[in-house]
């Protein structure tokens, strides 16, 4: 079976290709925007000579590039998405690109879209957690965000992307599996999720307190994509993706300071965060946006209200955590330490 992985050169993409090969998928088309990111994939390919990796370069915003990407692929793992940039860029890279991809799959002669399985990697950001009670448990049944305009552009783009996939699935009948990862981390990834806090000038505002941090080590996340995404009984299903043994944000920050570098941080309890958010929001409104509304009550409730998480549904597919959180954090902090030292 020909597998297409979009965003294959990215942080999660390379690991996904690795796990696909480990699960016996050898005919893989890797779609990348940046040819310089092929290096890591070539290393994966060299470690498994039976794998046939095909590299396809392009931009999913281009309909012609999408046509080249989807040819003959019966399993499509869609990882490519806008992660940074202006709101318009995020929407173009996540939503417009997804629409182009779906239309290209629908338009190709073979295999027909009805015989295609598409695995979409979405995000926790699509949940409407701000309207839930403090400490509410997030499951796959948690309602979706109804006020994306009050969140950040990333959440809006991921929500609209997921809606688009479900609309097309209803219209064309392909098999859709949606995975919603929490905070993907690992060597080569970011340093802090905003669930831990925000860097404000030279000081790190530590806002997460003892909240649980829904980490998903990049290898575990890739394993979830392959296991849940290819399971015969998961079509039409949604899975939250995070590891079993989750740390608190306090533990994560403590370990970072111990193993990577000392940083100046100020711990702000939730009620202080909400008070500050109220003041900032009021100032933002009064000054007509002179300072950006990076912190609002709605955003604070979405990020720091102390939600609980549940990956029981993912585990029911047979997924198992490959890298423990202790090992994953140690490996990640070693890599970050190296980066800091090199700087």
């Amino acid at each position: 079976m020909k597998v297409l992985v979009t965003g294959a050169g990215g942080f999660l993409g390379v690991r996904t290709v690795e796990r696909l090969i480990a699960h016996g998928y050898v005919d893989i088309r890797c779609f990348l925007r940046d040819p310089s990111k092929t290096t890591a994939l070539k290393r994966v390919s060299q470690s498994c000579p039976s794998a046939q990796l095909e590299y396809c370069y392009g931009n999913l915003r281009s309909k012609a590039d999408c046509v080249n990407a989807v040819e003959g692929a019966a399993l499509v793992i869609h990882l490519a998405a806008g992660l940074k940039g202006s709101p318009a860029e995020l929407v173009a890279d996540s939503v417009v690109a997804s629409r182009n991809l779906l239309e290209a799959i629908d338009a190709r002669p073979s295999p027909p879209i009805q015989q295609t399985r598409i695995v979409l990697v979405s995000s926790f950001g699509v949940y409407g957690v701000a309207s839930l009670a403090r400490g509410a448990r997030i499951t796959e049944k948690t309602p979706l965000e109804t006020h994306p305009e009050l969140r950040d552009a990333y959440s809006y783009s991921k929500l609209r992307q997921e809606q688009l996939f479900w609309e097309h699935q209803q219209n064309t009948g392909f098999e859709l599996v949606v995975l919603r990862p929490g905070v993907i981390y690992g060597p080569g990834g970011g340093t802090f999720s905003n669930r831990v806090g925000l860097q404000i000038g030279p000081v790190f505002a530590f806002l997460g307190g003892n909240n649980v941090l829904p980490l998903s080590h990049v290898a575990n996340c890739a394993e979830a994509i392959v296991v849940a995404g290819t399971h015969p009984d998961t079509a039409g299903q949604i899975f939250n993706v995070h590891d079993d043994d989750l740390p608190t944000t306090a533990k994560y920050l403590h370990e970072y300071k111990r193993r990577v570098r000392k940083i100046r941080s100020i711990r702000l309890p939730y009620f202080v965060t909400q008070t500050l958010a109220t003041m900032l929001e009021a100032y933002h409104r009064r000054s007509q946006g002179q300072l950006p509304a990076v912190l609002t009550r709605y955003k604070a409730a979405a990020a720091w209200a102390g939600n609980k998480f549940d990956n029981a549904k993912l585990r029911s597919t047979g997924w198992r955590q490959l890298v423990s959180t202790a090992d994953g954090m140690a490996e990640t902090f070693r890599s970050l330490r190296l980066t800091v030292t090199m700087k």
Binding site: G85, A88, Y156, S157, Q290
Partner: protein, 364 residues
């Protein structure tokens, strides 16, 4: 009770810069944003949802027919500007146009002519010229403090790793790559429109050099764009240097105006205007005291900015709000637009002359 007329505003083109237009339009009491439009429905929808704009369209004709806006903001790629201006003015709309105005000088002329023939107002988003420092500079020149302008130095720094730079570097199909002047054309309006204000020659002599900056300082490889530009402009009574740099740090945006009496330094990033004055102090005092006078100048400018901040007049696009207000006022009062057509044409002519030298194969 005085009733102010409310202008119905619509936007065509829902990319990055449209956010700034929406935000500034919403701050103007006499304007009401009624609809946004983009050929790509997803882009029109996202702008409408994020800013609660009442309606969105993917068909420009339909938007014009149904909404009958008084003003259309055109924020699409420049290749589409001429056709959209013609269609909008034919529908009776005034035009607020995002830069670059159009790919070629001829298009710019045609576009201004179309608006003129339809008796509609048109202006271009030269917003830095409406920032407080730019206005202060105008007052200094008009009052004779600078004397006659001898020379201008306009500098514009650019971050290829920033939001705008990344957008065009990641996308080989980005419209900037199809412009005759490529990356330079997307920003050169802001470098040259300051010069055009004080160098009134229609056909100055222009000598331009462009090259790709040292790759050792490239934060990201993969771009083959020329990203450094130096231009010497010679008019009848004054000269100018225009510099665009993607490698110089910190990223600056400044104008230096050397006059027969004094020299003004305008920093658009810090929003300051300082004067290098002719010194009358004798001997060593003439070297000792001037730094303190400059420091005093900066201190006063800083206090002025604090005052602006405290009165919520220190937004990034404050100049755009001022320009928009003046443009909307000129529609209501049927007066001249805030930017003269001649100024827009002079900028465009200089750009064309520069691109003919740095990208001769594109314009051949």
């Amino acid at each position: 009770m005085i009733q102010t007329m409310s202008l119905k505003i619509a936007i065509i083109g829902c990319g990055k810069i449209a956010d700034a237009h929406v935000e500034e339009i919403r701050k103007i009491p006499s304007a009401q944003l009624v609809a946004v439009c983009d050929l790509e429905p997803i882009m029109a929808e996202q702008l409408s949802v994020r800013y609660a704009v009442p309606r969105w369209y993917s068909n420009f004709t339909r938007m014009l027919d149904e909404q009958k806006p008084d003003v259309v903001h055109i924020t699409t790629p420049p290749h589409s500007h001429l056709a959209l201006v013609r269609q909008a003015v034919a529908a009776g709309c005034h035009i607020f146009l995002e830069k670059p105005v159009a790919p070629h000088y001829e298009d710019v002329r045609n576009l201004l002519a179309a608006a003129g023939a339809a008796d509609r107002k048109l202006t271009v988003n030269y917003w830095p010229n409406f920032e407080d420092p730019a206005l202060k500079l105008r007052r200094l020149v008009d009052s004779g403090t600078i004397g006659d302008v001898v020379h201008l130095e306009s500098f514009y720094g650019y971050d290829l790793a920033g939001e705008y730079g990344m957008a065009l570097r990641r996308d080989a199909h980005h419209w900037v790559h199809r412009l005759p002047g490529k990356l330079f054309q997307n920003v050169l309006d802001h470098v040259l429109n300051k010069i055009a204000l004080y160098l009134p020659d229609d056909n100055p002599s222009i000598h331009a050099v462009a090259y790709r900056g040292d790759s050792r300082h490239q934060e990201h490889e993969g771009s083959r764009l020329l990203d450094e530009l130096r231009v010497i402009i010679q008019g009848e009574h004054a000269t100018a240097y225009a510099t665009f740099s993607a490698h110089a740090r910190p990223i600056g945006h400044s104008l230096r105006v050397l006059g027969t009496l004094n020299t003004a330094n305008v920093d658009f990033m810090m929003r300051t205007v300082t004067l290098d004055r002719k010194q009358n102090f004798p001997s060593a005092l003439g070297r000792l005291l001037p730094p303190f006078l400059v420091a005093k100048d900066y201190f006063r400018q800083g206090l002025g900015n604090v005052n602006r901040f405290s009165h919520a007049r220190f937004h990034y696009f404050h100049g755009m709000r001022r320009l928009l207000t003046e443009f909307y006022d000129c529609i209501e009062n049927n007066s001249a637009p805030p930017i003269a057509n001649q100024e827009i044409l002079r900028v465009s002519a200089m750009m064309e002359a520069i691109f003919q030298q740095v990208y001769p194969e594109v314009l051949a």
